[in-house]
């Protein structure tokens, strides 16, 4: 069967050259970078190179990169690591209503411990209004965290503005750039953020590895204690195959960024137009312009997302409805609800997220397939009767 993978926001395939390098670091350069011998030194060299490569993707200094087990751990380390140092009782944190669960569930955990948290509302396109942030800042605010680009609807936030507001008040600023890294040109110095999370498996690197950028001078309390790895900011034997794979994937992403972006945007626009043009009562979710190059999120009225996904899957098309983490359960996406969608529209959302491996043929396959699926499901939908 033809298989078209359009769920690259959930995870991406590891590219061939990266997989090869990882293989080499599993069977040949398998040493522990802490060891003094040849195997250890080979590993250390790989670690150092990867740190430069990852730093290079976001304009950081290698010393500012702490490798973690993924985007979730990076987010947890940023949020909890700052709170552990700056204090929780009587303190205040600002984030947005559309963050990934790695942020929201971390702040909720801190709320249970006494931290006050403001969840900034977003407009119908998913944008955070800088004025709202400005008003939310308090003397006791220790950190603000707003994602660079949303994983569900792809909306890109005005991070530079938001970060500047915080800088002016001496408040630390973190951004979750897990979806943006590898798609947008990111420069931590230009954005002037203090902390940034990224994840390897969203940019054609392996799963189980990510990084937190920690600006020089900014400190976080580690989550994991043990050996003195990562300059005492994250203990545990380094996941070296993962790290070198992440490094190479980051390096290649940096090199290919302009063409990748162009490629994805062209496919995305073709897909959006094809779906909205081919299916009545469908709408685009997220911002029409300020959106990730690879994100196409639509709501299709009168039908439910999972039933569309399953039908797409039967025809070999992999997509998602809401974020991957929740698509196994029927909770409506908190992101879509925060943007003001009705429960029905939120339940009827589909996310197609493109990848570098996708072609116009893939997109056309979806465009030609989806209308029939929707028609069949609408036929059995009690909500649809007489609405067309």
């Amino acid at each position: 069967m033809r298989r078209v993978y359009l769920d690259n926001a959930a995870t991406t395939p590891v590219r061939a050259e990266v997989a090869e390098l990882i293989h080499e670091y599993m069977v040949k350069h398998f040493g522990n970078p802490s060891s003094v011998h040849w195997f250890g030194r080979e590993a250390r060299r790989g670690l150092d190179r990867a740190r430069e490569q990852v730093a290079g993707l976001i304009g950081a200094h290698p010393d500012e990169i702490v490798f973690t087990s993924g985007g979730t751990e990076a987010d947890n380390l940023a949020i909890k690591g700052v709170a552990a140092l700056k204090g929780i009782q009587g303190k205040h944190l600002i984030t947005s209503a559309i963050e990934h669960h790695a942020i929201i569930h971390s702040t909720e955990q801190l709320e249970r411990q006494g931290l006050q948290v403001t969840y900034l509302a977003v407009d119908e396109h998913g944008l955070v209004e800088p004025d709202h942030l400005a008003h939310a800042l308090r003397p006791e605010t220790i950190l603000a965290s707003v994602m660079l680009a949303n994983n569900e609807v792809g909306t890109i936030q005005p991070i530079r503005e938001l970060a500047a507001l915080c800088r002016a008040k001496g408040v630390l600023f973190h951004t979750d750039a897990v979806q943006a890294a590898g798609q947008l040109d990111i420069d931590v110095k230009a954005l002037d953020v203090d902390l940034m999370s990224i994840s390897s498996h969203k940019l054609y690197g392996p799963k189980g590895i990510g990084a937190l950028y920690i600006r020089k001078g900014c400190r976080v309390e580690p989550l994991a204690h043990g050996g003195g790895h990562e300059r005492k900011r994250r203990a545990g034997t380094e996941n070296l195959p993962g790290i070198v794979g992440f490094g190479l994937a980051a390096e290649l992403s940096r090199q290919e960024l302009p063409e990748r972006r162009e490629h994805l945007e062209a496919l995305r626009d073709r897909l959006v137009q094809g779906i909205l043009g081919g299916i009545s009562h469908s709408r685009l979710n997220g911002h029409p312009q300020l959106r990730l190059p690879n994100n196409c999120n639509v709501s299709i009225e009168f039908v439910e997302g999972e039933s569309m996904l399953l039908n797409l899957d039967l025809l070999g098309i992999a997509a998602s409805s809401g974020s991957a983490c929740t698509s196994g359960a029927l909770e409506p996406s908190h992101v879509l609800l925060a943007m003001g969608l009705s429960h029905e529209l939120a339940h009827g959302s589909l996310r197609f997220s493109l990848g570098r491996q996708n072609t116009a043929g893939d997109v056309d396959y979806v465009i030609s397939t989806l209308p029939g699926i929707v028609a069949r499901l609408r036929e059995i939908s009690p909500l649809h009767a007489g609405r067309e």
């Binding site: 439910e304 399953l310 196994g328 029927l330 429960h343 036929e379 059995i380 909500l383 009767a385």
Partner: protein, 139 residues
């Protein structure tokens, strides 16, 4: 995630639609929950001779709707009242745990349709039985 049986009933749903002149109508669920099932039945001499469903919902919701229509068709209303959501899930070879609650209400919809039929029989002016479902996970 889903058993083959579920996918079979989902991909080729049986008894889709709405009877034009039903003897009973039952609806469960709500769009907040993400699942709505609407069952219409035809009853002749106490036997369900025809049954149709319309469902807005996930794979499990559609498959259980489809399955329940097959299960109760040809049964007496008393027999059909004995068919539980659990029976339906079992007939499908099981459902994922997170689908056992909201998305497995097809038998309830049938029961509501039968109740509606019985109320009509007893002369009540009953248009349709409806039952909103509480979605615990949204609490």
């Amino acid at each position: 995630m889903y058993t083959e049986k579920v996918m079979e009933f989902f991909a080729n749903p049986k008894n889709v639609g709405e009877l034009t002149d039903p003897d009973g109508v039952g609806t469960v669920g709500n769009p907040v929950c993400g699942d709505i099932m609407r069952i219409t039945i035809k009853v002749v001499d106490g036997v369900i001779t025809d049954v149709r469903f319309k469902t807005f919902g996930c794979g499990a919701a559609i498959a259980t709707s489809s399955m329940v229509t097959e299960m109760v068709k040809g049964k007496t209303v008393e027999e059909a009242m004995q068919v539980t959501n659990r029976n339906v899930a079992e007939a499908l070879g099981g459902l994922p745990p997170n689908k056992l609650h909201c998305s497995n209400l097809a038998a309830d919809a049938v029961h509501l349709a039968i109740k509606n039929y019985q109320e009509r029989l007893s002369g009540k002016d009953s248009q349709e039985e409806r039952q909103e479902v509480k979605c615990d996970h949204l609490a």
